[in-house]
């Protein structure tokens, strides 16, 4: 049997230290290696391979989020200052945290400390939400990578508090263009179509087999994601309020349940902190087994309600090392690795310790409860092993068949250290304002409906089971034949109760190319718009941030990230939405064979969740009845920068949308009231493609037509192209019947609320501008175009 190896580091010089880090795929910097050297010199011995691996895993960017915790020396050049201004930012994480602390929402139960953000649901339950990324693994093995991505975030929910029951999955993907020519593809990467099919299949097979509805998300396409795709997976769970707190006490047994440990995913935590290159070892790939996780889920729910364990966490990145290390952080632990159930016997101790084999959870079990827990696990056919116990030594001691293979001081391991100050630089991009002239608006609208970013994702969504657990109220598609897109999903998770949650997301990397600060505002605005359009309450909405960025040791890339985080802070405060959880995935770049580097466009996903009293007081986006009036809420301005229109016409110019939180929040609160009072027949937000696309989508769901008078859209009539395709934020298209227009208009008195047209019986879109017929398109053609873009 293999034993631990001693790694000679006490005598090494800088070069030797770096070589050890590089050879072991540890991703440790020279400073970190020196700290390790100092520690071991002090205790008078060399580390074992297992100890080095555990340190590397604990300190990895993936587990420790060093960059988000680092001080940043930020230099900014903008229009107002003209000269560069430098100031020190305490950390990006503190900026995000500040929002939640300042807003003091009493329904936020547990934020930024557990595996997921937890908010109150009703008198007895809480809901929790977590969104993760699984970008690198999915780029290498799309099916396995995406499957284990969703499997991993489900385990986060199982490991939140004392475990929540997963009730909803969300997924957001970014790919390269699906029609990218095969012959132009770099030999080291997969074609976007293959990645697309693999990722969707992976999420589908894992989510469906777990019996969890996958019912909200987005899919984006941009050449910037050719080399590095993005795969965001989220899960919402529900748990009793008493199960929010976990507690580890000395003497509790360490019990690992679920899958066996193999060589899968070794170095996932450290690897995800590095860039993608051509040569990748097989062992970083994980293959999911949802059947095991489903059994774990079922067993855990029984064990939790019988209070058979006192703490739980999932084995994610860093495996047992990370899970046991975190639980033992404030007390200590003694672990016997020979007790860990293995897939095959030739694993070295360090491999057992850091393996990222899937479907495993770690529990802290009071010894008197162990027999009862065993019975539950055996009844549910879940494998388990007691691998040690928690102690009060503040040390972790790891044995393998009577040999000590590792012993580390946990206070030292988890000690806050002075992280190196990062440099970031940002220069505002000046964009020429541009209004495309001489364009055929009919053609352009059809082209926009055929833009893969805008077009129907039904071919993907229908592969997911979005009805399982039978509590999905507003589904991903609505309308007479289920073709109209919904803004958000509404579920009623407690049987017999109408109380519900609304879940939606906002993402738009194209605004970020122009202005990452405004992008953050737009993403928050979009996520909240989607929530409110379906009936969600803007005052009871919480958000999650997920940053995916490129090469962050480049001050320019980091500068954009800092601006984006600042945007998150400022706009979240302005919209009064707290962040409850977040995650960053940095270093999404690819090193080509010639050494050149391709970074992804900086991408922020904002996921939003809102609790509502009654799921019957919601609405969908498809038009309901001929003769009803159509309103636009919010101001339409000349916001074409980063728009789908300019993307289509290949212009990189224009002002990207500037959110107006104060005004928008008023509109949202009033719209929420109007929906609750039943005044709104249908509602859809204006996002990619602007008002024209929003109205088209409402028609497609309904089979009704519309007549729109464009000059009524904005107070000062602007260019029709702007009115049709501007992506100004904070706007909704609302359908109201004749009987309710007075009441509706009264609610929006003194706010931008304009009646712009009617629903018509014939399935045609007619848009007039100052008495002239500007645009007329057959509804069937629009529907065929919008529905027929993505193929499997």
């Amino acid at each position: 049997m293999a034993r631990a190896e001693i790694i000679e580091i006490c005598t090494g010089d800088d070069e030797k230290l770096l070589e050890i880090s590089k050879k072991g795929l540890l991703s440790l910097t020279l400073d970190e290696m020196k700290r390790i050297q100092k520690y071991f010199l002090k205790i008078g011995r060399n580390p074992t391979d297992l100890e080095l691996e555990m340190i590397a895993q604990t300190w990895s960017e993936h587990c420790f989020h060093k960059l988000f915790k680092s001080k940043i020396e930020f230099t900014e050049v903008n229009g107002q200052t003209a000269k560069p201004v430098t100031h020190i930012i305490p950390s990006m994480f503190s900026m995000i945290r500040q929002v939640t602390e300042n807003l003091k929402k009493n329904w936020c139960v547990s934020v930024f400390k557990d595996n997921a953000g937890i908010i109150n649901f009703d008198d007895t339950n809480c809901v929790c939400f977590k969104v993760e990324t699984h970008n690198h693994p999915s780029a290498l093995e799309p099916y396995g990578g995406a499957g284990t991505g969703i499997g991993g975030v489900i385990r986060d929910i199982l490991g939140a508090g004392l475990g929540a029951k997963p009730i909803l999955n969300t997924d957001v993907f970014c790919f390269g263009p699906l029609d990218f020519p095969h012959e132009n593809l770099d030999p080291g990467i997969f074609h976007p179509k293959r990645l697309f099919k693999g990722v969707v299949s992976g999420v589908r097979d894992y989510g469906n087999r777990m019996g969890i509805p996958t019912a909200n998300g987005a899919i984006l396409f941009d050449p910037g994601y050719l080399y590095n795709i993005l795969v965001y997976c989220g899960t919402v769970g529900i748990m009793p309020q008493w199960a929010v707190e976990k507690k580890v006490e000395p003497g509790h047994l360490i019990v690992v349940i679920g899958g066996k440990t193999g060589r899968d995913g070794i170095h996932g935590a450290t690897f995800s902190s590095a860039s993608l290159e051509k040569d990748i070892p097989t062992s970083v790939v994980q293959i999911g087994n949802p059947i095991i996780e489903k059994k774990v889920l079922d067993a855990l729910m029984i064990a939790r309600d019988r209070k058979l364990y006192s703490a739980i966490t999932d084995c994610g990145a860093g495996g047992l090392s990370s899970a046991v290390g975190e639980l033992a952080q404030h007390c200590g632990a003694e672990v016997h690795l020979e007790n860990v159930p293995l897939k095959y016997q030739d694993l070295k101790p360090w491999e057992i310790w850091v393996s990222e084999s899937q479907e495993r959870m770690v529990l802290a079990v009071p010894s008197e409860k162990f027999d009862q827990l065993k019975k539950v696990l055996e009844d549910e056919d879940v494998e388990y092993a007691c691998i040690g116990k928690f102690t009060s030594t503040k040390k972790i001691k790891i044995y393998h068949q009577n040999d000590i293979v590792g012993e580390l001081d946990l206070r030292w391991l988890f000690q806050k250290t002075e992280l190196p100050v990062q440099k970031a630089y940002y220069e505002e991009r000046k964009m020429a304002d541009i209004i495309p002239e001489n364009i055929n608006v009919e053609e352009v609208l059809l082209q926009l409906l055929a833009d893969p970013v805008i077009a129907s994702k039904e071919i993907v969504v229908r592969q997911y089971d979005h009805e399982v657990q039978s509590h999905t109220i507003v589904k991903p598609f609505s309308g007479i034949d289920g073709k109209g897109p919904s803004d958000a999903v509404v579920i009623a998770p407690v049987y017999g109760s109408y109380r519900g949650i609304v879940v939606a997301c906002g993402i738009n990397p194209w605004y970020g190319k122009v202005d990452p600060y405004l992008m953050a505002g737009c993403c928050i605005d979009e996520a909240m718009r989607n929530i409110v359009a379906c009936g969600g309450d803007p005052e009871k909405t919480a958000v999650l941030d997920n940053f995916c960025w490129g090469k962050c040791d480049d001050p320019v890339e980091l500068g954009k990230l800092v601006k984006c985080v600042q945007g998150c802070r400022d706009f979240a405060l302005a919209y009064k939405v707290p962040f409850i959880s977040g995650k960053d995935s940095l270093n999404n770049f690819y090193t080509k064979e010639d050494g050149s580097i391709v970074s992804i466009p900086g991408t922020l996903l904002i996921s939003a969740i809102s609790v509502i009293d009654d799921v019957r007081e919601t609405t969908s986006s498809d038009l309901k009845e001929s003769g009803n009036h159509i309103y636009i809420l919010g101001e339409t301005r000349r916001h074409l920068g980063g728009s789908r229109l300019l993307n289509l016409l290949n212009f990189e110019a224009g002002q990207c949308p500037v959110p107006e939180p104060e005004l928008t929040l008023k509109i949202m609160k009033n719209l929420h009231r109007a929906i609750k009072q039943g005044l709104v027949k249908s509602c859809h937000d204006c996002s990619e493609g602007g008002m024209a696309v929003a109205i088209s989508e409402m028609m497609i769901g309904s089979g009704y037509g519309t007549e729109i008078y464009l000059e009524n859209v904005a107070e000062r009539t602007d260019e029709p192209v702007v009115l049709l395709f501007s992506e100004s934020q904070g706007r909704f298209i609302v359908e109201v019947d004749q009987a309710h227009i007075d009441k509706f208009e009264k609610i929006f008195k003194n706010l931008p609320c304009r009646r712009i047209g009617r629903v018509t019986p014939d399935f045609r879109l007619k848009i007039f501008y100052k008495g002239k017929n500007l645009l007329e398109i057959d509804g069937e053609l629009m529907k065929k175009t919008w529905c027929g873009v993505l193929s499997w």
């Binding site: 290498l140 095969h182 097989t282 790939v285 087994n289």
Partner: protein, 160 residues
């Protein structure tokens, strides 16, 4: 493929009169790659059964665990690297060190049937192609670009 075990191969495919959605999807992807000469793709689940097994046991496993009698046909044969394939085809198998969840489940099911033998299984897929003028290099390209991920899979081209 040198690390495929001896003993038996079970090949399970759709009955002929049934619509093969998966095969059609693969065919579409092949056409997107630019190979218009492919006309049909037949997809089979293949299981390499080895260890403590006899032909009778393999038949029992096939009948009771792997085969859906309504939709599928099964073929069982002794593993032979040089088996003559009548049509061009490729087999895709997980590399040995990669976790094979379907195989794990199958082994569990065998135990649940009360079979005490130490049976080992590996799972794979077999794709059989028909068309005009199919060349080995085309299948190699199709394997690498659509069917197999060489990071976790081995593939063997046969019948051409």
């Amino acid at each position: 493929m040198e690390n495929l075990e001896k003993s038996y191969i079970i090949e399970i495919g759709l009955k002929e009169n049934l619509f093969d959605a998966f095969g059609n999807e693969i065919l579409n992807s092949i056409k997107e790659l630019g190979f218009d000469n492919f006309e049909k793709v037949f997809v089979y689940d293949v299981y390499n059964v080895y260890g403590d097994v006899s032909l009778q046991l393999v038949r029992q496993i096939t009948k009771n665990i792997l085969l859906d009698h309504v939709a599928h046909n099964a073929k069982i044969y002794k593993y032979n690297n040089k088996k003559d394939e009548k049509m061009p085809c490729v087999e895709v198998w997980y590399k040995k060190q990669v976790t094979d969840p379907v195989a794990m489940t199958a082994i569990k099911a065998i135990k649940d049937l009360g079979i005490k033998n130490d049976v080992k299984i590996r799972c794979g897929k077999k794709y059989v192609f028909s068309g005009n003028n199919i060349k080995k290099d085309m299948i190699r390209q199709i394997s690498e670009k659509i069917l197999a991920n060489t990071l976790i899979h081995d593939y063997i081209i046969k019948g051409i």
